[in-house]
Symmetry: C2
Subunit: 310 residues, 2 copies
């Protein structure tokens, strides 16, 4: 037993991805443990080449995934949710800082049949299982609507870092699917990703405040990599910002660093977003927070959720 | 005399570009009165095609205008100014909100010989006079330095609107020259412009607060067009964001709408910026503010400025 172990005993369950540290770690990142693509043996629409791209870059963009008529009906479903008076002020809805207009709604696959169907659509779930390599459930879902000029950007981050620290997601067996419901171009704040960043875990510094999600869903300050780590990552891998027509699908690994810039255009930006987690990777106790986040941010397999639950 | 004139007497000197209004005007914009290119008869390096582009778009981008060795010496001059301890806290230097590091210095053509030379460089001044059609002086100069990840964006605006309202610039006979000292790419917040917007004057709503520049140099809220006017302008003309290597020159008309997004990359962004105004267009009393802005923001022809003047 080393001297270090004597002064700082190891936790009972060793955490493969320690984060929210008290100080900068000696190494800015360490290698990811899990494979990225685990279901090559399963049938599905993704070709070997597409799976290779996902494995290499940590994301895959498919322009025109949904036809315009399906986009139109999802947009209508989104409007219905955004206009629900009884959802205003509920924890699972996020309003703009300077108005009472709803901009995001969580748990939409429980709130509206259109999104429930979409979450179960084989075109989506077959792709998901080709990546995850096993049965899945929806860890999180939401819709975002940002009118023109209004959308602020958000800082670079890995979703897995937060889900591990604050939701208790054990390992990197989750994938996000974002379907844009508006045309995305260079100037309405498209999602930016760092290709290849998913292969590295960057521990973040700073303890998690209680009820952190109330702040982090607006502007995230805790759980973001250091500028040194980000700079090294971008200098190595660059930045990509896929753009395309409404109905395009972006699949991205839970650990791919992403961020976005403000919407400088008059065009609104909206999307529907699902996080699919592998069933054997269901969340346990949070790894770096005193309390697990509310269920509307992190669902459990086979457990229903209702608007009154929050 | 109409009833309106009886209740609201016209100012003695009619203002062709009224702005900072009490309410939204009936028409979101009106046509520009001055020609954009007025020196086609003068000798200079800009071709007829380049002058046509400037006239049509309200800007002209020339990648690689300065060779790398000249960029290096300007970068060194910039560092010298940013590191001047005695400039810290002076009105003509702007520090970041959350640190004491200098990010912008004004009046640099009076503060450093390298920028004095550049402001008089025939490669620049001949271009300027081809556009302005007459003798010029430097209305404003500055350097900007933004480290990676730190640079915030700024809202869409016309410089002329502010110079007219707050500096007393009578007409649209000024052109800005921005030389980037770092490579500009899509992700480090390059300047965005609305091509063709210079042909329209958009009056802005809201009276000018006293000492407005202290706020507006950080975040501009007054003197920005309405979202309706901006949306119509962008839907008509689109957005352009020229990118290129360090040393590239952007010439843009005083009334071209421009803005920028945040710097999402680790790469710093810096530039040196001169506003050339035609000598017969020297500033008078501000058109929509109680006091003219300090001289470091708006110089006069043939009048020297020193760091102690502010």
């Amino acid at each position: 037993m080393s001297a270090q172990n004597l002064t700082c005993p190891a936790p009972i369950q060793a955490d493969p991805y320690p984060t929210r540290l008290h100080q900068q770690p000696e190494h800015p990142w360490h290698a990811r443990r899990e494979n990225t693509v685990k279901g090559r043996h399963l049938p599905g629409p993704l070709t070997e080449q597409q799976l290779n791209l996902f494995e290499e870059n940590g994301f895959l963009f498919e322009p025109g995934f949904l036809p315009p008529e399906e986009v139109a009906s999802l947009t209508e479903a989104m409007s219905e949710l955004l206009n629900r008076e009884d959802y205003r002020g509920k924890p699972f809805t996020i309003t703009e800082p300077d108005s009472h207009e709803i901009r995001s709604v969580f748990a939409v696959h429980f709130l509206h049949r259109a999104f429930q169907h979409l979450a179960r659509d084989p075109r989506l779930t077959q792709r998901v299982e080709q990546i995850l390599g096993g049965g899945h459930y929806v860890h999180q879902s939401r819709i975002n609507y940002k009118p023109g000029f209004k959308g602020k950007g958000f800082n670079w981050h890995s979703d897995f870092e937060t889900w591990h620290a604050e939701d208790g997601m054990p390992a990197m067996h989750a994938v996000s699917a974002s379907i844009i419901l508006t045309d995305n171009h260079s100037f309405n704040g498209p999602l930016m990703l760092i290709p290849g960043s998913h292969k590295h875990f960057i521990p973040c510094v700073g303890p998690t405040p209680d009820e952190h999600h109330k702040q982090s869903l607006k502007t995230q300050q805790i759980g973001v990599p250091s500028e040194q780590a980000l700079a090294a990552m971008i200098n190595r891998h660059g930045i990509d910002a896929p753009t395309g027509p409404a109905g395009s699908l972006l699949l991205f690994d839970c650990n791919t660093l992403h961020g976005s810039n403000a919407n400088m255009s008059p065009d609104p930006r909206s999307n529907v977003f699902f996080v699919f987690n592998r069933r054997d990777n269901a969340c346990v106790q949070p790894y770096a927070a005193r309390q697990r986040r509310p269920r509307f941010l992190g669902h459990e397999p086979d457990r229903l959720w209702q608007a009154d639950d929050s």
